[in-house]
Amino acid sequence: MLSVQSVTGGYPGHDVLNDISFDVERGELLGIVGPNGSGKTTIFKMISGILKAKSGSILLKEKPIASYSAKQLARVLAVLPQHAEQAFPYTVKETVSLGRYAHQSGWFQSWSEHDEEVVQRTMAQTGISTFQDHYVNELSGGERQRVFLAQALAQEPEILLLDEPTNHLDLSYQKELLDLLKKWTREQGLTVISIFHDLNLAGLYCDRLLLLENGRINLHHKPNDVLNEARIQSVYRTKIEKHPHPTVPKPQMLLLPEKQAEDESDLLITEKCLTHAEEMITLKAPFPLRTMSSGVVGSGTGWYSTFVNRHVDKTYDCFDHKGEMTRFLEDHGIDPTETVGMMTAVRLEDVAFRFIEDEGVSVFVVVTAGVGNAVDASKSREHVYEPLPGTINTWIFVNGTLTDEAFIQSIMTATEAKVKVLHDQQVKDAVTGTIATGTSTDSILIAATQRGEHQAYAGTITTLGKLISEGIYACTTEALEKYRERRFR
């Protein structure tokens, strides 16, 4: 469809582009990304015939762009500008109708039925039909953007060039516009080349990305390859982290704000943060902690600053326990969106906690334990599923910076330590009579301050692993002993 071949050039006296070559297939959605001044707009100006290349050639449908007249080019290629000048108050329909200019011929340039049909269709597609008699200068930025999109579409182009199409748009319109463009590329074979500032949007929608750096192509490939953390960091010269999109298999590049002085204060999570009453144990962190947990609310991964372990009666109705828990937290003046909440039928006086420190890392472990429904995991098929309030609830707070691997290994290490406690305490599975490995409703939480020492791993014999093993073993044993004392008193 479009072939750019070793193009060099730019403005008189200084070349912006240096030996640029790439091809665009019919029906492709190509995103052009790159920092300010990398030549994104210049390449657009060359493709749309505004600037001439100093050397190299641009072929549109196998014909050099220079061999097209302005009208011929406009019938194949349309451009959505970043902003269009507005000297006089034209109506929406007058503005869109101008897009038909290239399709009209002869001195009298009469308005045909087909012209009217195309204009009406594009206005409908972009959702501006209802205000076609309004003046363009009275519209909002987003509406105006859609008017000019309709104008470009009225040209019935095969290639559409968009210069930051989502610039003035609300989130919903950004999504709507890009969904629409993507659909047109698939259904009508429209070829779209778009400049993006937002790498994430580009990564979500584009088939391929062209990354420009100082007027040269850094990489022209699939979004996942182009949006490489190290590559983007070096091209954009800023700190960026790459994470997978939570629901679709696309990369997301996340900016990291500079740490401010207030973030640097080294506050530790210790028993000072803990308050416990009969109804619930609460830990309030002075700042949000990165958390991975299996709580009732705030489960999964996220950033939370309040942690609640709530006592409920054995007869607690587990229907809609999430909604009930949320209301409970709200009633107690706790914001559920910033809270990880767990439940237990165990008496909260039997809680065990411990602060352990070694080599600049420290952990604070909180455990409540009851083994009324202890289960041997190797024989769990003999049990019937029954949702009950959790019985061994384990919290681990780490004063350090953890990787995702360390989070996962922390859970493994903690579980291994817990199993060992049950073994040493000879806790039996009531159904099978064998030694239990846990209870059927245990919950765990790992929360890290993400400040201070980096901990890449948390296996059992790493620094962090040792602290966790020791803390869990000691606290779980203590909690279990208190629980048994109460039972057999």
Binding site: P81, A87, Y90, T91, A102, D133, A152, Q155
Partner: protein, 353 residues
């Protein structure tokens, strides 16, 4: 709702715009021919035009004095005023569209200064070119204005090959001030021709006769023809040159044609009547306020309104303190400015509605 109603009303008004503007022009012409030291009844004018211009069979006797007054003095004067007004108005409308600036006027490119220098040079040196004789002044003036356009475009091209409108405006301003200084120099050095020069500079359409119409007409037809065939392109270019290029307009070529067309009209108008201000600025603006910015209608309507306006202005200039004639440029501004201000204020209030 109020706003919407007004808008619909204005859109409908576009269809009756032409009858209204044409009627205005006809009324202005009849008034212009009728009123003067000797009053000519409208019926006699119609009869005279029927017999003398359209060569219809005689519609009855008319006073031979009326025939002389109408055919030799008033009719050519009114037609010339109309042509000048029409030329300045359409050139102004085109320049405002091309330069995307409602404050542009036909004189912005320095064409009028060029024409003035040519004319004043003739008066200053008492030139008379053989074979042209008494038409030395308009001929020199048109030649000077055309020379100015090409010099402006040539220098603009030297500055920047792509010739953006901003560059052209700047070059025009440089030429205007340079030529303006030349004019001042000649005026400073002049003696008894001073009144003649000033009178010419302030503009007048009196005592020109049919010959001047003969000089003016071809330029008017060519110039407005070029512009009327560029109306869609002007619409596109008012969204910016790049945008117009993307829509499919050959901007470089069209821009040149529009500049040349507008300059021919301006040069010819200045050559026959001096520098008459205000018409080229205000008539297009007024037309746009009344009937919208679409150049396909703006240009023809500006021709009609511009012609009518200048005929009325000329009528006032020669009758208000008769027998002394005021310079027509004084009148255009004196009546044009307040009328324009009133319309502007009323429209503002309406759109706030």
């Amino acid at each position: 709702m109020q706003k919407r109603f007004t808008r619909m009303f204005l859109l409908n008004k576009r269809f009756i715009a032409y009858p209204i503007a044409t009627a205005l022009l006809i009324v202005a012409m009849l008034l212009g021919i009728s009123i003067g030291t000797v009053s000519v009844p409208v019926l006699s004018i119609l009869k005279l035009i029927g017999t003398e211009v359209l060569h219809l069979p005689s519609l009855g006797k008319t006073d031979p004095m009326f025939t002389t007054i109408v055919m030799d003095i008033r009719l050519p004067r009114v037609i010339l005023a109309g042509l000048v007004g029409a030329s300045l108005a359409i050139a102004g409308a085109a320049f405002q569209g091309l330069l995307r600036n409602p404050l542009a006027d036909p004189y912005v490119l320095g064409v009028s200064s060029g024409a003035s220098v040519g004319a004043v040079l003739v008066l200053f040196l008492n030139l008379s070119i053989p074979f042209v004789g008494m038409f030395t002044l308009p001929v020199m003036s048109i030649a000077a204005s055309i020379l100015t356009i090409f010099l402006v475009l040539f220098f603009a091209r030297q500055i920047e090959r792509s010739m953006r409108v901003e560059t052209i405006i700047l070059t025009g301003i440089v030429f205007s001030s340079f030529l303006g200084s030349l004019l001042s120099l000649m005026i400073a050095l002049t003696g008894e021709e001073l009144r003649q020069i000033i009178g010419w500079l302030l503009g007048s359409v009196s005592m020109r006769g049919w010959e001047y119409i003969g000089i003016m007409l071809p330029f008017f037809i060519i110039g407005s023809g070029i512009l009327l065939f560029s109306t869609k392109e002007l619409n596109a270019m008012s969204f910016g040159e790049e945008r117009a290029q993307h829509i499919g307009v050959n901007v470089a070529k069209r821009k040149l044609w529009i500049l040349i067309g507008g300059s021919i009209l301006t040069g010819a108008a200045v050559a026959v009547s001096g520098t008459i201000g205000f018409v080229g600025l205000v008539i297009p603006h007024l037309t746009r306020l009344l009937w919208g910015p679409d150049h396909r209608h703006l240009l023809p309507l500006s021709i009609l309104l511009g012609a009518a306006f200048l005929i009325v202005a000329d009528l006032i200039s020669r009758t208000i303190i008769s027998p002394t004639e005021l310079p027509i440029g004084v009148i255009t501004s004196l009546i044009g400015a307040p009328v324009f201000a009133i319309i502007l204020i009323r429209r503002r209030k309406e759109s706030r509605g």
